[in-house]
Amino acid sequence: MSSNAFTIPGVQIDEKSWVDTLHEWVTTVDHKRLGVLYILYALLFLVVAGVEALIIRIQLMFPHSHFVSPQVFNRLFTMHGTTMVFFMGMPILFGFANYLVPLMIGARDMAFPRLNAFSFWLSALGGFLLYFSLVGANGLYGAGNAPDVGWWAYAPLTARAFSPGHSTDYWTLALLVSGFGSIGTAINIIATILCMRCPGMKLSRMPLLAWLNLVMAGMVLLAVSPLTAAQMMLLIDRYLGGHFFDTQAGGSAMLWMHFFWIFGHPEVYVLIIPCFAFMSEIIPVFSRKPIFGYPVMVAATVCIGFVSMSVWAHHMFSVGMNSYANSFFTITTMAVGVPTGIKIFNWLGTMWGGRIQFKVPMLFCIAFLFQFLIAGLTGVMLGSAAFASQLTLSYFVVAHFHYTLVGGVVFGVFAAIYYWYPKITGRMLNETLGKVHFWLFLIGFHLTFDLMHIPGLLGMPRRIYTYEPDRGWDILNLLISVGGFIQAIAVVIFVANLIVSYFKGKKAGNDPWDAWTLEWATSSPPPAYNFASIPLVASRRPLWDLKHPEDPDSRYE
């Protein structure tokens, strides 16, 4: 990570040893380095959780398979879900927020650099704790055991009686610790965006990435806290003899569900909103047009932020709420689809009339649009309580949320990596390898997750380590698993591209994509201080104004 410095003649500068470099990285408070640490950490867990998924898919290729035992399978799906949400999704998006927000608002760093570092290391500790359970948690027979209660850890399955040993406690503690890290980062993002914008950058001139990360951070404050509270209650039950979720003492299993999903639903919007931000930055650049309807994009996101806090019980359509509650959550869930749909139309409107360049980041964005459309529509189906009473807890839901999380979040993250890797490292990722990665991953994704809807419609529930051969699910599961392997190959190619391009990639220069936001106004990679002098902006696309002084945006805003 060399900064764009010039050599001072006549001075001997010693080369840094690897110990010094390591020390610098471990003690850094620079938002760019912390951003990279978050992203690398998340990519590591992407691979780990991906391997967990592959083992799950091998077990499910054939009915009555014995590839793994039921105990191991149950730990695998618990770890896969927990890892992907908390130690892949959240960190990678916090990483991009950390890296990009200060650059895009013309600031030198986040509002609280030390809090930033502290939050990262807390999150890292959380991931370590979760995987330490493999070694440390003594299960019934004295060996280490990963948690096996599902990533939602429903009560009373998590009670001492039904989950002896410490595997559940590792789950609880890992998330509690990383939850504090998430809240710290959210506070930092909000303070940075509200208090550190460069002169001229009114809120109405901020890049959409900043706006959407602001909304995301606000949601983290409101959503992660209920999970923190619920986990404290779970620990009180398990260790202090509390009865929060103890059904034998009059406690309520439903209460855990409500608390968990009050976290869980906004959480998935926390995961997707930064990806909406990526779309809103990347699609305009490769369509060569500004984002269509900036004010509505902001309003729609804020709307999603609020409405998504009121939809949580659509995850509970089978638990026996009364018809009024089910109807309420139906209408709110369908309502949140409206601003989401609007955003898809706005991205469409951005491409419309443009001159689309099919560089790799744009390929991932276009795929995102198709996939998020489908995911949104299956979401509408799941939001209809009556329809959902058949679909929920089946592979239809698994297909839906992988469509949003892989087809949405992972594709969005890939787009972001291809787009901003040149800024972060100073080198371009290989375009050919990128296209191979894209097409392979696309084919594998659709083979797996398009087909996966069907076993759900045919009655296959989720979280089962094997299935009966007389239900018509066999061939579908086989093909789904094959798709998983295709995706794995694509990810291997992607990782190879990341590594090879770091050393051999074409030099990127400041602004390889001819883009318009402030991060492209400094070198690649940026110097530690980001900008030589704090910029002064007069429109939403400061670099467009610079490049087109005859027709600046500032004239129209």
Partner: protein, 198 residues
């Protein structure tokens, strides 16, 4: 970079942004409020639902005196912070220490109440649903009071050593926001536990 500055005719005359200490503390307060809300919801949900054991009516004595102590400490800290902005360090210190004394008195009250409940009535967090929700809600609040008292104490020590001046008034203001939050939470906990829950 300088080229950019020259291209823009409309430089804003003054560029004022919110204070990041206050924004950060406000965000923290929002997150903490969400945590407390969940514990309050659990408390209210379980009112009257214990299968056995003592009820709130049988056990609880309304802590009026200690509540007055805690709520007045909001007043004293407000005036303490005000004094510091006016560089009246003596007044600031006196009011600040008074705040700590009032907060500590409140904690003593809670400790006394818990001692009575546990040792005289054998009522603990595992007794019944009321026990679980009571001790966790009041306990979570007491934990936040303790954390606040520790922070106030650190400032008091620096103040008594003569190291606190008007240049720290902003940080003191941010800290006092936290203390006001802790008091506001007590208003809610008091209402829920000692008024509504009985």
């Amino acid at each position: 970079m300088s080229a950019m500055a020259n291209s823009f005719p409309q430089a804003p005359a003054t560029w004022r942004l919110p204070d990041r200490g206050k924004v950060a503390m406000a965000s923290l307060i929002i997150a903490e409020s969400a945590i407390f809300t969940i514990f309050v919801v659990a408390y209210l949900f379980y009112v009257g639902k214990s299968l056995t054991g003592p009820t709130p009516r049988e056990l609880l004595e309304t802590p009026i005196f200690y509540t007055i102590c805690l709520l007045s400490s909001s007043l004293t800290i407000h005036f303490a912070a005000k004094s510091l902005t006016r560089d009246r360090v003596g007044a600031f210190l006196g009011l600040w220490v008074l705040t700590i004394v009032l907060g500590a008195t409140f904690m003593y009250g809670t400790a006394q109440e818990w001692h009575r409940l546990i040792y005289e009535h054998g009522f603990t967090i595992s007794t019944n649903l009321f026990g679980t929700t009571y001790y966790s809600l009041v306990g979570l609040h007491a934990f936040h009071v303790t954390a606040g008292l520790l922070m106030l104490l650190i400032v008091a020590i620096f103040g008594l050593l003569g190291r606190v001046g008007v240049q720290h008034s902003h940080r003191v203001e941010v800290l006092s926001m936290y203390w006001h939050f802790v008091d506001a939470v007590w208003v809610i906990v008091f209402t829920v536990v000692y008024v509504l829950g009985r």
